[in-house]
């Protein structure tokens, strides 16, 4: 009898913990400390202005500079970030998409200017560079889909020939599931995305290089709590990927057709109610992506149990890391070959998901491919998210502790003075943070202005003009012109503006226009109330849903907009990335009765008061404002003091109740009797 075990246990997957840092100099210090401890990889998170192509002094950058990552405006910033770090030995991962070609150019220039210099051919690392999911969920796009995809193809074609150890793209289905994707949608949309990218690259490289290109593409996927199906999803993706490489792109080498992926498990399903239960959810989700050897994750990243409450403490992150370590080192998981081989259930599940994904891929192909189908996919995601939410609200889908088994003993985990999250002292520490924030933003603004004043203006103007010419000629690669602009000293905002001038401005689809209006028995009462209040007002109750700032996480805003429409309101929603002034102007012009703002980037302290101020300036100061987002209670109190009528957080998951509150608020402010 042959042994059911592997001759040698597998090595565990790569265990990652997520850590963000903010400013170039401090990030550099952190990198150097880690380097001294023997770490060989860097992971760089950029702030939203850098990700969307704005300089720190742009109006849209207000409140966002240095917030979710480091601000890099020019090659000087990049040099500071990498100071003293030998890039030849470094593997640098950059979470950057719309402006990936630019940040890669800055990285190349920083490497050649270091002493000793590192030639580009020796650089190693990864650019996330997945633009289509930015339109579908994450929101940090800068240009229209067609030209954006061309930039992606340009960077891939460039790196494959010039920087052979660079991973030019990491296709993310993670964000699709967070936006509501079903397993079939997650598979199909991610693969459709990959096809669009590969087709575009095929026009730009020698046919003999396609195997190399295919092998360089990796994925970043999600895993939810239905872990059996989630495992099947990964097997289906691996099978379809292999098939795609062989049949569509003629990749002969099976090694180049291997489905390589990393995972961050689901945050969407984590609850604010009875948050300790999230530990079990995270554990089961981790099982889904590690159980079967044939579709095991290369790298795994777990959220903390208290993510829906606020910022995790270092101890919470450690607790999640320990889960991975128990799975890898205590259990016998890594001792066996694939444990699902021959399982009829698994086989059938995989077949079912693959068939569903094929049908969905066909629908996307009929629309002309992923780029042409962005609107279709976005609308489908909004619809799925809405269906999921309604299942939870109706109790059809159980979420333990939230819509079922709500009774709970007091939790000792959240009983401490800090409430079980990382707490910044609401008064003293907050002020300090605000001061640092203001100082940093001011300093970055001054720094970028000083930078612009100090360089050879004629050289920059020439380089940007040349960049524009190249951008308008789709036959050329954007990379050499971008590298030249980086050398000349152009800024991130200037690079992006040159491309915006060439490609045109773009606002992504919101996906909400196509959502069906349900018959909605459960909405009858709400509709009657909207009707009654509208009748008393003399015109239909009108709500403006606004997303100020650069934060692209629009799921919440979209769901509120659609539900308010279904309840009978006239809803104005103009999508993400609006300045306070744009929101205020719309509110005034549109004559809305109430404004709802959604922010998840943590910039609420700065942006919400700015909107209130802009509303007053626009003559709409009397319009009540409500706010939704991940907002700690101390901040919520400050916002209410500043004039916000109500603040909603993830614990307010019953949308009908929230809409009911808004109707009541409008009635009260307009003296409509209850």
């Amino acid at each position: 009898m042959t042994s059911p075990r592997l001759p040698e246990p597998d090595r565990p997957w790569l265990m990652r913990t997520y850590a963000g840092h903010s400013d170039a100099k401090r990030s550099n210090e952190l990198y150097r400390r880690n380097l001294a401890k023997g770490q060989t990889g860097l992971s760089v998170a950029f702030d939203l202005p850098t990700q969307t192509g704005y300089d720190p002094d742009h109006e849209l950058a207000r409140g966002e500079v240095g917030k979710v990552g480091v601000s890099i405006a020019h090659r000087g910033d990049m040099a500071t970030l990498l100071d003293g770090i030998p890039l030849e030995q470094m593997n640098t991962s950059m979470t950057i998409n719309a402006t990936a070609a630019w940040l890669l150019s800055l990285y190349i220039v920083a490497a050649e200017e270091q002493s000793p210099p590192t030639p580009e051919s020796a650089l190693q690392g990864t650019t996330q560079n997945d633009i289509l999911k930015e339109y579908l969920s994450r929101g940090t796009y800068a240009f229209p889909p067609g030209p954006s995809l061309r930039l992606v193809a340009d960077t891939i074609a460039y790196t494959v020939t010039r920087i052979p150890r660079w991973n030019p793209i990491n296709i993310c289905s993670y964000h699709l599931q967070e936006a509501g994707a079903t397993p079939v949608q997650e598979i199909a949309f991610a693969l459709a995305n990959a096809i669009a990218v590969l087709d575009a690259v095929r026009d730009r490289v020698e046919p003999s290089l396609m195997g190399e290109v295919f092998g360089r593409i990796s994925f970043f996927v999600n895993a939810g709590v239905r872990f059996v199906e989630e495992h099947a999803k990964l097997r289906a993706m691996a099978a379809l990927w292999d098939e795609l490489g062989r049949d569509r792109y003629g990749v002969a080498d099976p090694a180049q057709r291997r489905f390589r992926y990393g995972v961050q498990v689901n945050s969407l399903g984590l609850t604010e109610a009875q948050p300790e239960n999230n530990v079990y959810r995270i554990c089961l989700e981790a099982l889904g992506v590690t159980l079967g050897r044939d579709a095991r994750a290369r790298a795994l990243q777990l959220p903390a149990w208290n993510e829906a409450l606020g910022l995790p403490r270092p101890w919470d992150q450690q607790w999640s890391l320990r889960l991975q370590q128990i799975l890898a080192y205590e259990t016998d998981l890594l001792e066996y070959p694939d444990i699902f081989e021959g399982s009829k259930v698994m086989e059938a599940l995989v077949a079912e998901l693959a068939a569903g994904a094929r049908a969905e891929l066909e629908r996307i192909a009929e629309r002309g491919g992923a780029v042409e189908a962005v609107d279709y996919m976005k609308a489908a995601l909004v619809e799925s998210q809405r269906a999921r939410w309604r299942r939870i609200e109706s109790g059809e889908q159980t979420v333990v502790g939230m819509n079922r088994f709500q009774e709970s003993e007091p939790s000792p985990l959240t009983a401490g003075a800090d409430g079980g999250i990382l707490v910044v002292d609401p008064s003293v520490e907050r002020e300090r943070c605000d001061a640092i924030e203001a100082w940093r933003a001011g300093r970055d603004q001054q720094a970028v202005a000083a930078w612009r004043a100090s360089r050879d203006q004629a050289a920059v103007a020439d380089a940007l003009e040349q960049l524009g010419r190249v951008a308008r000629d789709p036959g050329q690669s954007i990379m050499p012109a971008s590298i030249a602009a980086a050398r000349a000293g152009a800024t991130t905002g200037e690079w992006a503006q040159a491309l915006r001038d060439s490609f045109g401005e773009y606002r992504g689809p919101t996906g909400i226009g196509e959502t069906a209006a349900p018959a909605g028995q459960d909405l009858a009462e709400l509709r009657d109330e909207v009707e009654r209040v509208s009748e008393a007002l003399g015109r239909r109750l009108k709500l403006l849903v606004g997303k100020p700032g650069l934060d692209g996480h629009s799921n919440g805003a979209e769901q509120v907009a659609v539900r308010a429409r279904d309840a009978g309101m006239d809803v104005v929603y103009e999508g993400i990335r609006l300045t306070p002034r744009q929101i205020a102007t719309s509110a005034a012009h549109e004559g809305v009765h109430v404004v709802g703002l959604s922010i998840l980037s943590g910039s609420h302290g700065e942006l919400i008061p700015a909107v209130l101020e802009a509303l007053r300036e626009a003559g709409a100061g009397e319009v009540p404002v409500v706010v939704g987002g991940i907002i700690p209670e101390a901040d919520a109190a400050a916002l209410r003091d500043a004039g916000v009528a109500a603040v909603y957080t993830p614990k307010d998951w019953d949308l009908n109740r929230m809409i009911g509150d808004i109707v009541a608020l409008v009635a009260e402010r307009n003296s409509v009797p209850a």
Binding site: A519, R565, D570
Partner: protein, 329 residues
């Protein structure tokens, strides 16, 4: 909510105070008795008789099927008008859900403009129960804003129906056509849609398919004997092309137009439509049907505003009803 004073708003519009626009729209959209009385005051103070002529604005209707590129078209036109120093009001009409009565606004057509520019006003309006048509308050709003703004744009979605209703209120109707999409061409040929004043082929950067659409439309127009309709191809892909030509075509149509006749026709059509909404078939019968109503309208002072025309129709209908036209059984 206290109702703004109609006369006061009218005075602000006559002084070209563009900041009055939101309050004007709020007023004309409000259906309470008090608001309607104030709206009537507003229109009376802005009637051609009161103004001493027609309001000066160019009222432009822009319509076309979904996906035809109206957002781009309007954004570019807006920029072009602004660069000539003209103030612009845009009324964008969105369909309402028949189930909930609610609507999603501002999303379908997104117009790029500078929020700090006080000479631009953009308002979305829900169409309410009117299929493919105008929001009830749109005509009133357009007539009022035309006193203060240089250009008033009414934007609607659809093909075959919407341009007919827009034509009843706009001086010039432009229909946007996406290259390769056959619906406008078919509807034109079949007579389902009326011939617009200007046809705009969008996305001209698509090249041959756009040229083909352009040629097909010209051929169809010429077969219909509608040689005066301009066909203009535009593209917003930098550098934008065709917009000077489009602007010239719109201006040219307005120049040739008998403005007084068109506006008068619009007011009469609106009065009749409002009357029919309020009093239905029975009310129309009392006027001797649509033709009888038209005859009555034609006999009235051409300088009257819409509510005044409507009141005249109501008076006549009530006179007739005082004598039952059918024996009571």
């Amino acid at each position: 909510m206290s109702q703004p004073d109609g006369r006061e708003l009218a005075a602000r519009l006559r002084d070209r105070d563009l900041a009055a626009a939101p309050a004007v729209l709020n007023l004309v959209e409000t259906r309470t008795g008090a608001a309607r009385a104030q709206a009537a005051e507003l229109l009376a103070a802005l009637s051609p008789a009161a103004l001493g002529g027609e309001a000066k604005a160019h009222i432009v209707g822009v319509t076309g099927p979904p996906g035809a590129g109206k957002s781009m078209l309007l954004s570019q036109l807006l920029a072009a008008w602004r660069s000539r120093g003209q103030s612009v009001a845009v009324l964008a009409i969105d369909p309402s859900s028949r189930r909930s009565g609610g609507s999603l606004l501002g999303d379908r057509v997104r117009i790029e403009s500078d929020p700090a520019d006080g000479s631009v006003f953009v308002r979305s309006m829900a169409a309410g129960n009117r299929l493919g048509g105008l929001a009830p308050a749109t005509r009133t709003a357009a007539a009022a804003l035309a006193v203060a703004f240089d250009v008033v744009v009414i934007e609607t979605v659809g093909v075959g129906q919407s341009e007919t209703e827009v034509a009843e209120v706009a001086d010039t109707v432009a229909v946007a056509v996406q290259p390769g999409a056959g619906d406008v061409l078919q509807f034109l040929k079949a007579g389902i849609m009326e011939v617009p004043d200007v046809l705009v082929v969008t996305k001209a950067d698509l090249g041959r398919i756009a040229q083909r659409t352009h040629a097909d439309l010209r051929a169809a127009l010429s077969a219909l004997g509608a040689r005066e309709t301009a066909v203009v191809a535009v593209s917003s892909v930098p550098p934008p092309v065709g917009f000077d030509e489009l602007l010239a075509a719109l201006d040219e149509h307005r120049r040739r137009l008998d403005l007084r006749a068109r506006r008068l026709g619009a007011r009469r059509a609106q009065a009749l439509s409002e009357f029919a909404t309020e009093h239905g078939e029975r009310g129309l019968r009392a006027l001797g049907g649509p033709r009888g109503a038209q005859r009555l309208l034609a006999s009235l002072d051409p300088g009257l505003d819409v509510p005044a025309l409507e009141r005249a129709l109501e008076r006549r209908a009530n006179d007739d009803r005082s004598v039952p036209d059918q024996p009571i059984g």
